[in-house]
């Protein structure tokens, strides 16, 4: 049986620069810039003030809503400022600036060790939430929310996502090779929290060592299967993953829970083990620093809040033909405008791309070649989206399911005319939301008017 999904694009992997390289730890930076908004949902609220001495793992910002997570001090030191700072995906945001003291003293001494098997479901969820966990595949959805399905939608199946289909990135791969045990333990914790029994670990076939490591580690977990997936972008997209492993298609606009499924990234699972069993909150992560414009590509373990500048310097600096800096992978990552931008929990990669890597010939007319339709994993007609923007036809775009687009970039990657498809979708989504809000407001006004009369 071949595990596959509809559409997708055959994208060159570019993983060779850091594939199989050990994870190196970054020396303590001189400053850390910890953003208070690192998750999908509401930002957190700082609970420290400028001048405070803080310790490693100490809560420095608390959640403000259910879909929000706490943020912890990545190291011990002093809060020197709380100020606006560049954010890797949101432009700008408030960051707590920490000057490390280099002592790495943990809050409350050594973190406590616990057996998750003796814990209740609520205790597990509380520890996950208190650990500040978010989905580390890139979406940064708070983990405790994902593990709290409504009572009427039981979850039977958990899929650990180890596809890492984004080209260039190898951070998940590096962790799968070294932390397979913790990932399986994390999976056990997730299963327990959800009351689910069936589980799969999906890994693309271009990572044989990760497959071997996880197959070995997963032996002890009953009802768990490691599934080798065909390498094809975007295999790691939630829907593509579910389709490939379970053969079921989740339509746009629905959550995997509707199918009784929860998908979690493998690195998130390892961090769940850290949080639940060891009491270590999410304060560091592995970042793949790579691309043809960085001198020594590496997989680096860094504290949240470390700037790109510190990371790049550790990797031998950039070459003179650096043209674009991307946080994340080349297909969905965000182009960076500053070296002072710090990593957030979701930053799995930093790409230094040269002009040659990103060189795009001028935009041409749509040839109607159909490559974008063939590549779209959602079964949309991407070629039409730039036209909807040009004609400002928001309703038409909505009917064409522009809102279902996951912005994976397969269409634009495949386009021989370099049409700006994904950018058009972003414009459309914003315009549709604004038009809908306007329509709603107008409706309310009419209602109020009728009521007053």
């Amino acid at each position: 049986m071949i595990y596959h999904f509809q559409g997708g694009a055959k994208v060159a992997h570019h993983k060779h620069r850091t594939e199989g390289k050990p994870i190196e730890a970054l020396p303590m930076p001189s400053r850390l810039f910890v953003h208070i908004h690192q998750n999908m949902g509401a930002p957190s609220k700082p609970v420290v003030a400028v001048g405070d001495e803080i310790q490693k793992g100490q809560l420095i910002a608390e959640p403000t809503a259910f879909v929000s997570v706490p943020i912890h001090a990545p190291t011990s030191g002093k809060v020197v400022a709380i100020e606006t700072h560049p954010h890797p995906s949101m432009g700008k945001g408030t960051a707590i600036v920490i000057e490390p003291d280099g002592k790495e003293t943990w809050v409350k001494g050594k973190p406590e060790q616990l057996d998750f098997r003796a814990m209740t479901r609520d205790q597990i969820l509380t520890r996950i939430r208190d650990g500040g966990l978010v989905g580390l595949g890139g979406a940064t959805f708070p983990t405790h929310v994902k593990l709290t399905p409504p009572a009427n939608t039981p979850v039977r199946t958990v899929i650990l996502n180890g596809a890492e289909c984004e080209p260039y990135l190898t951070s998940d791969d590096a962790l799968m090779r070294t932390r397979a045990e913790d990932m399986v333990t994390g999976l056990e914790i997730i299963l327990k929290a959800l009351g689910a029994t069936e589980s799969y670990i999906g890994i693309e076939d271009n990572k044989p060592e990760a497959i071997a490591a996880l197959s070995q580690a997963a032996k002890r977990l009953q009802g768990c299967r490691v599934v080798v997936l065909r390498s094809r972008y975007p295999q790691g997209a939630e829907r593509s993953m579910i389709k490939a492993i379970l053969g079921k298609w989740l339509p746009g606009g629905k959550l995997p829970m509707a199918l009784g499924v929860v998908v979690q990234n493998v690195t998130t699972a390892a961090c769940i083990t850290d949080a639940v069993v060891r009491g270590i909150p999410l304060i560091e992560r592995v970042v793949t620093v790579t691309g043809s414009a960085v001198n020594q590509p590496k997989n680096v373990r860094v504290l949240v809040g470390t700037t790109w500048a510190d990371l790049l310097r550790f990797c031998g600096g950039t070459t003179s033909d650096l043209s674009r800096l991307v946080a994340g992978g080349p297909m969905m990552g965000v182009a960076q405008s500053s070296f002072d931008t710090p990593i957030v929990k979701a930053s799995g990669g930093l790409l230094a791309l040269s002009k040659r890597d990103i060189a795009v010939p001028p935009v041409g007319p749509c040839l109607r070649c159909g490559n974008c339709l063939e590549a779209c994993p959602m079964g949309l007609a991407p070629f039409a989206f730039p036209t909807y923007v040009r004609e400002r036809d928001w309703q038409g775009a909505k009917r064409a399911n522009a809102l279902h687009c996951v912005e994976c970039g397969s269409c634009e990657y495949s386009c021989p005319a370099n049409r700006p498809i994904v950018h058009s979708v972003r414009v459309l989504k914003k315009a549709i939301a604004e038009a809908d809000a306007k329509a709603k407001a107008a409706k309310m006004e009419t209602k109020a008017g009728v009521g007053a009369a």
């Binding site: 389709k243 298609w249 989740l250 629905k254 990552g333 041409g364 109607r368 079964g379 970039g409 994904v422």
Partner: protein, 355 residues
């Protein structure tokens, strides 16, 4: 803020002149419009070489005149319109090349040039240029020439062939032409066609390998199929178009033969005329054919039906050109009906009413 920040000073050493910022994705396929167009042109080189071998140097002259006229027309129009100059992207040359492939080798050169100018100026640029045209430019040019110069467009003179066995300078008819004329007179057309070759086997061999009279690019089905298979392998065209088009023509030609039901010769129908060239190179034109595979099936079956009707019942011996031009009109409608489809939802069967 910058002066407070100790990392800023270090940035100078990170050697970035300026960071370019753009929406994702940040990498692209290496396929470009020129690459696709020139590849399609390249797959036609074997056909062109064989045509020159069969028809002589005049075939090459026709190709050069048609190609150059197309490229020059595109350059002049793009200059006049003030749009991006993409005359060298291979698409105009492809139009010229394909037009040269569907005219008789003896056509006066000025007519060839005129047809090529019509293809690019009227069929392509009057509609807005590449990607906007409704009709296949090469076939529109051929239809224009056929309407304007019906005699010259149907005069099949064997020119100074480079092939040793060929007879020079004799006016002959095409197999489809013989079939049409004989059938009109109430004769057994198929027998007359076969008689000109000696046997059915010899006829099919000649048709397949390319030793028959007709248009420049109709000489060898084999070479055209090889080029077409390469295009399918490169994913420049979908296999559905040619397969359904050819199958429809063969099936209908076989079932509704001249001597009653199931008496037709499907292989003769397939290999004669411009059918194979049309199936792989004109029917599959990205711009003028439906964008989905399902749409292309409908398009191809419709085209095949029209070829059969024209060949069997209409005044012309051959119907490939008109079948494709007529189906081109239907492309927007087909695209409207056969839109992209998301995979079928699996929610209901697992979720009951909750989905």
């Amino acid at each position: 803020m910058a002066d407070k920040n100790p990392t800023t000073a270090a940035n100078e050493r990170l050697l970035a002149p300026l960071l370019s910022v753009a929406s994702s994705p940040h990498i692209r396929t290496r396929e470009t419009i020129p690459r696709i167009m020139w590849t399609v042109n390249a797959t036609l080189i074997p056909v062109a070489v064989w045509a020159v071998y069969i028809f002589g140097w005049r075939a090459l002259l026709q190709i050069v005149v048609s190609g150059l006229a197309a490229v020059i027309t595109e350059l002049v129009i793009q200059k006049q319109r003030g749009v991006a100059r993409t005359w060298h992207d291979g698409s105009a040359f492809l139009t010229g090349l394909l037009l040269a492939f569907c005219i008789p080798v003896g056509l006066p050169l000025w007519m060839t040039a005129l047809g090529s100018v019509f293809s690019v100026a009227v069929a392509k640029h009057a509609f807005g240029g590449l990607g906007q045209n409704i009709f296949n430019p090469a076939h529109a040019g051929r239809a224009f020439l056929l309407a304007s110069f019906p005699v010259q467009m149907t005069t099949w003179t064997k020119m100074a062939s480079l092939a040793p066995s060929a007879v020079d300078g004799v006016t002959t008819a095409t197999p489809l032409g013989i079939l049409k004329e004989a059938t009109k007179l109430g004769h057994d057309g198929m027998s007359e066609v076969i008689a000109t070759f000696g046997s059915r086997q010899a006829m099919l061999e000649s048709l397949f390998l390319g030793n028959v009279n007709g248009c420049i690019g109709e000489v060898s089905a084999l070479l055209i199929i090889l080029g077409g298979v390469f295009l399918i392998y490169k994913r420049y065209i979908f296999w559905q178009g040619p397969v359904f088009y050819l199958t429809t023509v063969a099936l209908l030609g076989w079932v509704f033969g001249h001597k009653g039901l199931f008496t037709g010769d499907p292989l003769f129908q397939l290999l004669s005329g411009g059918l194979v060239l049309g199936a792989f190179y004109m029917l599959t034109d990205m711009v003028t054919s439906p964008i989905t595979r399902r749409g292309q099936i409908v398009f191809a079956v419709g085209g095949g039906l029209l070829v059969f009707l024209i060949r069997r019942y209409a005044g012309y011996p051959e119907g490939v050109c008109y079948s494709i031009l007529l189906m081109n009109c239907a492309t927007p409608m087909i695209d409207r009906i056969f839109v992209a489809q998301p995979p079928r939802s699996d929610l209901s069967q697992t979720e009951g009413g909750q989905a």
